[in-house]
């Protein structure tokens, strides 16, 4: 049985004059210890997905419909008490900005020990020992000294390591990481990615990695979901999606990267902008930016259909595949 099973998740935001749909019928599964990437641009709904999984949405957002089965239990139906035993304990979250996640007025030790004591019956000393073990796991030198330090005394990379250590404190089964390396420098990012990969593999922890960076997804995850305007438009094995994307948007996203073009030449850009939540076009949300769009695309939302190795939500996949540009791109 899968660890996490999301069925038809719909999230809405009650705005001033209308209610907008931020997530529209998201369904996916995550096996135990599996690493899943959620890719999309800002406004695609990827962060909202992360928040919904922990039932952390705050007003005006709410889960309108759907199930989030975690270990067979529906997170949407849980009461606050049950949710508290879930959050941080069996599901942990890592955010983008390490500066904001840590409380600036508490030492690292206080924050780690408090987290442990909130969920486990332990003495302070035992909790301290566990904290030290976890800090060692994320390769923090001299962890005993770090426990006495405040977040501002540490560098960005060190802070993100500590946040990972805090996420791992209670041996969760699933970590949701929302752009965990975006705020970091390239060399530090490479270290943190390697560390997260290693920890997930050795502890059999599931990982949901939310990011806009296709390179990061490519190196970290086994499966990938591509989101656009609140829907999953392509899902499948990461390798397949990167090497042979099916949906025109995924293709555009990958082709738009500078490394896909000869230096100095025009990049293959996707025209137009991501639609706002209040103005999602009818039919396929991508149709105004898509060169393959037909009348069908403009009128009906495509279902997500298994097509070879990946599932794609596109009316025109068949035609696309015979397109010359694509043949060329694949070569």
């Amino acid at each position: 049985m899968s660890l996490l099973s999301v069925r038809d998740l719909t999230v809405k935001f009650a705005m001033r004059d209308e209610t907008v749909t931020a997530l529209n019928g998201i369904s996916f599964d995550l096996a135990k210890g599996e690493r899943l990437g959620i890719v999309g641009e800002s406004g695609a709904g990827k962060s909202i997905t992360g928040f919904s999984l922990m039932n952390l949405l705050s007003r005006p957002g709410y889960i309108d419909n759907g199930q989030i089965l975690f270990d067979g239990e529906d997170v949407v139906q849980m009461n606050d008490k049950r949710l508290r035993t879930l959050r941080g304990n069996r599901m942990a979250m890592i955010f983008q900005d390490p500066m904001v996640t840590l409380n600036p007025v508490l030492t690292i030790g206080q924050q780690m020990v408090e987290t442990l004591l909130a969920h486990r019956k332990l003495s302070r000393e035992e909790a301290r020992q566990i904290a030290i073990v976890k800090l060692r796991e994320v390769y923090i030198p001299s962890p005993e000294e770090r426990l006495e330090q405040y977040p501002h005394e540490l560098s960005g990379g060190m802070r993100q390591r500590i946040i990972i250590a805090i996420a791992l404190l209670l041996d969760p089964q699933l970590i949701i990481a929302d752009e965990p390396t975006t705020a970091l420098d390239v060399t530090i990012q490479a270290d943190i990615m390697e560390l997260m990969l290693e920890l997930c593999q050795s502890n059999q922890v599931g990982l949901i990695l939310i990011t806009h960076d296709l390179g990061v997804v490519s190196q970290m995850t086994e499966r990938t979901l591509v989101m656009y305007a609140g829907r999953i438009i392509e899902a499948g094995r990461t390798r397949e999606i990167i090497n042979d994307p099916q949906h025109p948007y995924t293709q555009g996203l990958i082709n738009a990267l500078p490394q896909q073009t000869v230096p100095g030449q025009r990049l293959k850009q996707i025209p137009g902008n991501m639609p706002g939540l209040t103005s999602i076009p009818t039919g396929c949300a991508f149709n105004p930016r898509c060169k393959y769009a037909t009348d069908l695309c403009r009128s009906r939302v495509p279902d997500i259909v298994q097509y070879g190795e990946v599932a794609v939500a596109c009316h025109e996949v068949q035609r696309l595949n015979s397109d010359e540009d694509r043949q060329e791109a694949r070569a």
Binding site: S42, S155, D185, H212, S218, A256, T261, P263
Partner: protein, 347 residues
């Protein structure tokens, strides 16, 4: 180099330094040390002895990680900061010590594009006001029709519909705002553009649009760029030459193709290997020990020695000078100079 005057670089940065004082005011500089009150002021060494040339029509990319001083270099060149030491020459004229009035004619030539399109446009001005203001300021005699024509021309050239001119910046997406910010810089017909991380706040599909726009402007208007970024894949695509900065010092300057095919400085190598690759999933990056030291009280010797696998006694005591390599690149590294790098790698 000095034989032909027309050959001189458009922008020359000579031994540029910038320090930011941490202790401002007299009282803050007083410290209590070993029973005595000492006067001592600490400062951040943001830029140390940086020399760079940018030739006409070039796109020089300055890369490095946060805190390496790349944005400070951009702001120094733009005249937003005054250097602590060193000189900046533009087209043969020294510009870092000019008064505001003397700088006016150069303001038309040197323009800047900023990182955050959400902050670089005045939220209380309509697009039209924002674009007309610089035209009026630099062409006081221009008639209303001339100003409007100029603004329309620039808006069309960056792909912004002129009928949006009545709207305010908050009604636009990040990519559109960055187009408008570029349009604003282009209204005065500059020849040199400093771009400080112009695409890093944008989405991937929009980054390509903005990058294309900047490339087009380069060709159609003959622009020269000083492009600040942390994204190496953008550098490879956009830059004609690259300067790698670490802790306020230049490590390596080379043609883009040379740098990416044959990086020499150990830091450049580590940086290139750390970029997440799309197609192969076994990252093979060079691990650097430790993290970037603070730029307060810089270490003696090479700024990179604390993290370098090739550091020896000489690196710890003596700062390396930039030395010309056979392939035309400039590298500041003792190990490269002594040819130790590949020997160690082989052995």
């Amino acid at each position: 180099m000095s034989d032909a005057k027309t050959d001189r670089p458009l922008l020359q940065i000579k031994n540029l330094e910038k320090r930011f004082d941490l202790d401002q005011g007299f009282l803050e500089t007083l410290k209590f040390k070993q029973g005595k009150i000492v006067r001592e002021s600490r400062s951040v060494h943001a830029v140390n002895n940086v020399s760079l040339d940018v030739g006409r029509g070039e796109a020089l990319c300055v890369v490095g990680e946060s805190g390496c001083g790349k944005s400070t270099v951009a702001r120094l060149v733009a005249g937003l900061l005054t250097p602590t030491a060193g000189e900046i020459h533009y087209d043969g004229q020294r510009i870092d010590d000019l008064s505001r009035g003397a700088m006016q004619p150069l303001r038309k030539k040197i323009q800047m594009i900023f990182q955050n399109p959400y902050a670089s446009l005045n939220p209380r001005m309509t697009i039209r006001q924002a674009l007309e203001e610089p035209v009026r300021h630099h062409n006081p005699g221009a008639s209303a029709a001339e100003v409007r024509d100029k603004v329309t021309e620039v808006m069309l050239s960056v792909g912004v519909d002129p009928s949006w001119a009545k709207r305010y910046p908050h009604e636009f997406s990040g990519g559109q705002r960055q187009r408008i910010a570029i349009a604003r810089a282009l209204t005065v017909d500059p020849e040199f553009i400093i771009a400080d991380e112009p695409i890093s706040a944008l989405d991937v599909s929009i980054q390509a649009q903005v990058l294309n726009l900047m490339l087009e402007a380069k060709e159609s208007r003959g622009l020269t760029y000083l492009f600040i970024t942390h994204d190496l894949s953008v550098v490879e695509h956009f830059g004609t030459r690259v300067a790698v900065l670490y802790l306020g010092s230049v490590c390596e300057v080379a043609d883009t193709a040379t740098l990416f095919s044959n990086p020499k400085h150990p830091y450049t190598r580590a940086l290139l290997s750390a970029v997440p690759q799309l197609k192969d999933d076994r990252p093979n990056h060079i691990r650097l020990k430790g993290e970037i030291p603070t730029p307060i009280n810089l270490p003696q010797g090479c700024p990179f020695q604390s993290r370098c696998a090739f550091a020896d006694a000489r690196c710890k005591s003596e700062q390396p000078k930039a030395i010309h390599q056979p392939d035309g690149s400039l590298v500041a590294c003792h190990a490269v100079e002594e040819d130790r790098l590949d020997a160690v790698a082989a052995g």
